[in-house]
């Protein structure tokens, strides 16, 4: 049981980062990015390919993160432009459809060109004993990286001008425009950040288990579940929900069965929507 819970925490931290990237984009721009998981997969693939070309792991991973950011930028500058010209539900709907199209384009290309590739970063080192459980070094390193990323995000949104600007756009787009913040610029920055976060998830996940090229939609769906439970647009909600669902997923996988764990998470999301549509920490509309 302790082992499953610790595994769940490792997973939950990654869930949190995964959902943060989705929820920020939604909170800021009312855009839901269904190509998010595919961005993560491409980041992982670039890391893998550059490592196979002889680059050491750390610069290769950094290159993967940069790729994620660039993909976020490309989405922002291309198919999301017509999305921004709409408002309300029409905007959400068009963003769902267009990013779904983009996700299939990326999936189709990856399945055609690299059907069997999968990133699996092996971290060497003796297992660490935590609460009497031997944790693999990969899980420990992955969790440390994830915690650092969460810390940086907290600092960014709490203490920097940029973070305050983003939060003011989330609260009131018109108002922020009046005090001289350009929501378009903020949106672009956040999409880049979101792409980088997707890359972080792919790379840290691959230290625990292989991330193959078909994982795109499962990553998106996991991110969506955590986002819904945490509250659409809430970053701290994403981290809290990530931890809770990570532990649920891990315990359910080891006691009930892996293929049922997603259904349990679906039920968790559905119950959240029915009982508390704003999510754990979301603001009521």
């Amino acid at each position: 049981m302790t082992a499953s819970i610790l595994d769940g925490i490792v997973l939950g931290l990654q869930f949190g980062v995964l959902a943060a990237g989705l929820t920020l984009v939604y909170g800021l721009g009312g855009v839901l990015n269904l190509a998010y998981g595919q961005i993560a997969v491409v980041s992982g693939l670039v890391t893998l390919l550059t490592m196979e070309a002889g680059l050491p792991a750390v610069p290769a991973a950094l290159l993967g993160l940069v790729t994620g950011g660039v993909l976020g930028l490309v989405l922002d500058m291309t198919i999301l432009q017509p999305v921004y010209r709409r408002s309300g539900e029409a905007r959400v709907l068009l963003s769902l459809l267009l990013t779904l199209g983009a996700a299939f384009v990326i999936d189709g290309y990856l399945n055609w060109r690299y059907p069997l590739k999968g990133l699996n970063l092996r971290i060497s080192g003796e297992p660490l004993v935590i609460f009497g459980v031997r944790m693999r070094m990969g899980s420990v390193v992955a969790s440390i990286i994830t915690l650092v990323v969460i810390g940086v995000l907290y600092w960014l949104f709490r203490y920097t001008r940029l973070g305050r600007a983003v939060r003011s756009v989330i609260q009131d787009e018109e108002g922020s425009r009046l005090v001289g913040i350009d929501p378009q610029v903020m949106m672009r920055l956040i999409l880049v950040l979101s792409g980088v976060l997707a890359g972080v998830v792919a790379i840290t996940r691959s230290m625990v288990a292989p991330v193959n090229v078909r994982a795109g939609f499962s990553l998106t769906v996991l991110g969506l579940i955590v986002t819904v439970v945490g509250g659409l647009g809430s970053i701290s909600g994403a981290f809290l929900a990530g931890l809770v669902l990570g532990i649920i997923n891990s315990v359910a996988s080891s006691y009930i069965g892996t293929f049922l764990s997603l259904i349990i998470l679906l039920v968790a999301a559905a119950v959240t929507i029915v009982i508390r549509p704003a999510g754990l920490l979301g603001v009521r509309e």
């Binding site: 269904l34 408002s87 539900e89 709907l93 199209g101 999936d107 189709g108 679906l266 929507i273």
Partner: protein
Amino acid sequence: MSGRALAAGTSLVGGAEARTSRSLPLLFGSIAAVGAVLALVPLWVGSSRVLMGVAVLGLAFACYAIGFNLIFGSTGQLFLCVGALAGVGGYGAALLADRVGMPIVAALAVATLGASLVGGLLSWVAVRRSLGVIFAGIVTLIFALSFENLVLGASTITGGDAGIQVSAGSGTFLRQRTAAYYVMLGLVVAFLVVHGLLRRSHVGWAFRALRDDEVAAELAGVDVARYRVYAALVGSAMLGLAGGMYALIAGRVSPTTYGFAQVDVVVIVMLAFGGIGTLFGPVLGAVVFTFLDELLIDLGQLRLLAYGALVIVLFLWIRRGVIPTLAGLVSRRPGTRPGPPPGGEEPG
């Protein structure tokens, strides 16, 4: 606010058809004409086993597109689990008939009911509050992936990756290719009649009202959430019945028969091409893309890329669908006005 943004575009959908659907003989007449044209297909390709298989699959997709149209086109709920709901019908009918030993008709009915209830439940979860459009997309996408995981994981029952043979239906007319084609065509015609009659009834008025301006509809006394769930129940029943019938005809089901990448993206493209919210758009889209798909079959995985690109192109530039766009070019009447409409027009 958002409702008003939707209003501009939705009135564009099916201008000409909205008029024809008011006359009952014209409605039945046009459905009969479409059915009659499709009924000629076996005369043309009936000698080829492979092509008849393609034609039956094409009709199954026409059924899926009609069901999806009823949910998405009528009430704006983006159901991203078309394949999964068809799979509930398909696996449900196959397993109930083969494993439980139910008669075929009963198995099909129960599986259809199951798909209908699942779709209705997903819609109920999503639309009870505001944010219904987003939640519908999210919840159905999660369900689609959960269903795939379940089918792959519960391999002792579902056969996992390899799928299962369906012995129910073997030895009956369902396995004779021409008869099977006409059974599937019967479903298409029946679904068109149901959708056509729904559009004429008070339910159709409610659909149009909530699509054009949700807030105004709510104020006028339309229970928006309830009509969305109704649409999901009926549309999902169509998906389940078509999926179940296809399983009995094809004689085997596997995860790819109902896969997200194999069904959903294709159905979205078919509907967007034919015209979202129109009565015959789904059928036209299914016919056109069944042809195109045969031409693209050598592309393998690149087919997926092509369909993804088509989704983007169709929703960016030909948002009204090809039928309404062509109709707009031919007759410039109100409701088919040329040029980009103002504001946040959106499909459905």
